[in-house]
């Protein structure tokens, strides 16, 4: 069984620890929710896992392979794909090129297949193949960003605020996609401000505050005891 083991990870941004000695395990086929107030360090965690922020301490292993301090493309090749927050896409490139660019880890033919799969999931993107990604609406960009992660056919997806700015219908569709991916064996880290959505889907829930985990456990517990979350938000 595939797993990502994060062990005592610390990440520094500026002069403070955005992620402070954090340990967490993601398992294949499971949706792990990560909740927490603004500035808790969730996005920093994602970027550090993806290899674009330097790690100050601790380790990250994917199936026993040490990936912390490795180049981003190595991490991606090891099966971990991140969807950074804020629907970031390659604004000057066409939608199609955006998707192709996400498949550098695969052989060209595999990448093209994967791109075709994404068009199947998001027909909106297929209609806009040649449009510059930067000129699409926020929601369309978010679809593209998720599509980019899918093209890599990863074992694990880190989805940072995926529902931000999306209409309910699309959020539902994306959540459907996430559930299906999990069913097919992909492990997912789901970061959400809409806690109810995340808690509905998640197999396990974590709450983060000031760079540390303040709660780990069953999502149901958070639904039953909203105070846990509330305290985390006030602490920030």
């Amino acid at each position: 069984m595939s797993r990502v083991v994060i062990n005592n990870l610390s990440v520094r941004r500026g002069n403070k620890l955005a992620v402070d000695n954090l340990s967490l395990t993601l398992e294949a086929g499971k949706i792990t929710a990560l909740l927490g107030p603004n500035g808790a360090g969730k996005s920093s965690l994602v970027l550090a896992l993806a290899g674009v922020l330097p790690v100050e301490g601790g380790t990250v292993e994917i199936d026993g392979q040490l990936v912390s301090a490795k180049a981003p493309e190595v991490i991606r090749a090891a099966g971990l794909a991140a969807v950074p927050e804020g629907h970031r896409v390659l604004a000057g490139l066409s939608v199609h090129d955006n998707l192709l660019a996400a498949g550098f880890g695969h052989k060209a033919s595999v990448a093209e297949e994967a791109v075709a799969d994404v068009y199947g999931i998001f027909p909106e993107l297929a209609e806009r193949k040649a449009q510059k990604a930067g000129s699409m609406s926020g929601g369309q960009q978010q679809m593209l960003a998720l599509g980019q992660a899918l093209v890599a056919r990863p074992k694990f997806i880190l989805a940072d605020e995926m529902s931000l700015g999306l209409s309910p219908l699309i959020v539902k569709r994306l959540m459907g996609v996430v559930v299906k991916l999990a069913e097919q064996g992909t492990g997912i880290l789901l970061i959400e401000q809409f806690t109810h959505i995340a808690l509905k889907l998640a197999d396990e829930a974590n709450v983060m505050s000031r760079g540390r985990l303040t709660f780990s456990g069953a999502p149901g517990k958070l639904i039953d005891e909203p105070d846990i979350l509330h305290r985390a938000y006030l602490a920030q």
Binding site: G14, N15, L234, Q236
Partner: protein, 340 residues
């Protein structure tokens, strides 16, 4: 309410009172203006006069960069432009020195406004290159028409025995002229401060963040952008006039486009975010090479040192040397700076 308590922690209230921290630059300027001419050798006085003049130019670059996020790679050409006008008037009209450099500044400002026109629709590297094109064109133009030297006609240039631009009657000697330049530069810095602290400063900050956002709060983006370029051109033009007074003539060879790029680079290295970053930039531009020359480092070796140091500084000091100094000072004295 709960947000009030959450927010109060991040309240790093700034006081606007006149404190020793705001007074010391003023005292430092005064001290330099009085003491330096008494102790420095003639060479260093000349060098420091150049430093003061280019500090004004660097400040004009930093202003555009910091406030509007715009890059001008034509600032030395603006100096040439201001210098040309000042010389032309000095020979042609015999006006007092102050009026000549003021006119030089104003004409440079007008030229700056003309260049703000393309800037209205551009930014970043692309705009920078447009200004570089202007600087390139100026370099060639001035090579042909030269700076006025008392000749006839509109251009005021003739191949003939030299005559020299008169200096202000209060500042005939090198010592007095140095003090004069310090005074003018000080006024220039003050002018920048006044703009930054006031309404234009807020408008520019919004424009830099996003022009759309600026328009959405009712700022006339066209006007303020042009105003920024005009102010920047004005300061560079005045600096050009001062430079003309320093040598009492100007030579086209001082104004190739590469110099404009260089002084921009040094302004970044000096630190565009602090007023004394401009002074550091000017020291790097004029004092350091003079020092290397004086201790016998060949000009070519100085180029290598200079190029390497430039890259090194750009890589290691993202907020410039001034930024590093500020950090150092605040660390040494344990002062609490906005640490975000």
């Amino acid at each position: 309410m709960e947000i009030a308590t959450r927010m109060s922690r991040s309240n790093t209230g700034e006081s606007r009172k006149f404190t020793p921290t705001t007074a010391w630059p003023l005292l430092a300027v005064l001290a330099v203006a009085i003491v330096l001419p008494m102790v420095a050798a003639a060479l260093w006085l000349k060098v420091m006069t150049s430093v003061v003049i280019y500090a004004l130019t660097a400040a004009s670059i930093a202003l555009l960069y910091r406030k509007l996020g715009q890059v001008s790679l034509a600032q030395v050409a603006f100096m040439g432009c201001g210098g040309w006008v000042a010389l032309r008037l000095a020979y042609g009209a015999g006006l007092p020195f102050e009026l000549n450099i003021l006119a030089g500044g104003i004409i440079a400002a007008v030229v700056g406004m003309i260049f703000a026109y393309p800037a209205l629709r551009m930014r970043g590297l692309y705009l920078a290159l447009v200004t570089l094109m202007a600087a390139g064109g100026f370099g060639i133009l001035i090579n042909v028409i030269q700076f006025p030297n008392g000749g006839d006609g509109f251009l005021g240039f003739a191949v003939k025995s030299l005559s020299y631009m008169p200096r202000p009657w209060l500042a005939q000697s090198d010592e007095a002229y140095f003090r004069y330049c310090v005074g003018v530069a000080f006024l220039g810095f003050l002018l920048i401060q006044l703009h930054e602290r006031g309404k234009p400063g807020r408008a520019w900050a919004l424009i830099r963040r996003s022009e759309a956002a600026a328009m959405a709060v009712g700022i006339n983006v066209t006007f303020y952008k042009i105003w920024g370029f005009a102010l920047s051109g004005f300061l560079a033009g005045v600096a050009g006039g001062l430079l003309a007074g320093n040598l009492q003539m100007l030579d086209a060879r001082s104004f190739p486009p590469a110099e404009s790029v260089m002084i921009f680079a040094l302004t970044i290295v000096g630190g565009a975010w602090h007023w004394y970053g401009a002074v550091i930039a000017a020291l790097l531009y004029r004092f350091v090479p003079a020092l290397l020359n004086d201790i016998g480092v060949s000009g070519d070796a100085a180029y290598i040192i200079f190029g390497a140091a430039l890259i090194h500084a750009l890589m290691t000091a993202p907020r410039g040397i001034a930024g590093q100094l500020t950090d150092l000072v605040s660390r040494l004295f344990g002062k609490k700076e906005a640490s975000q």
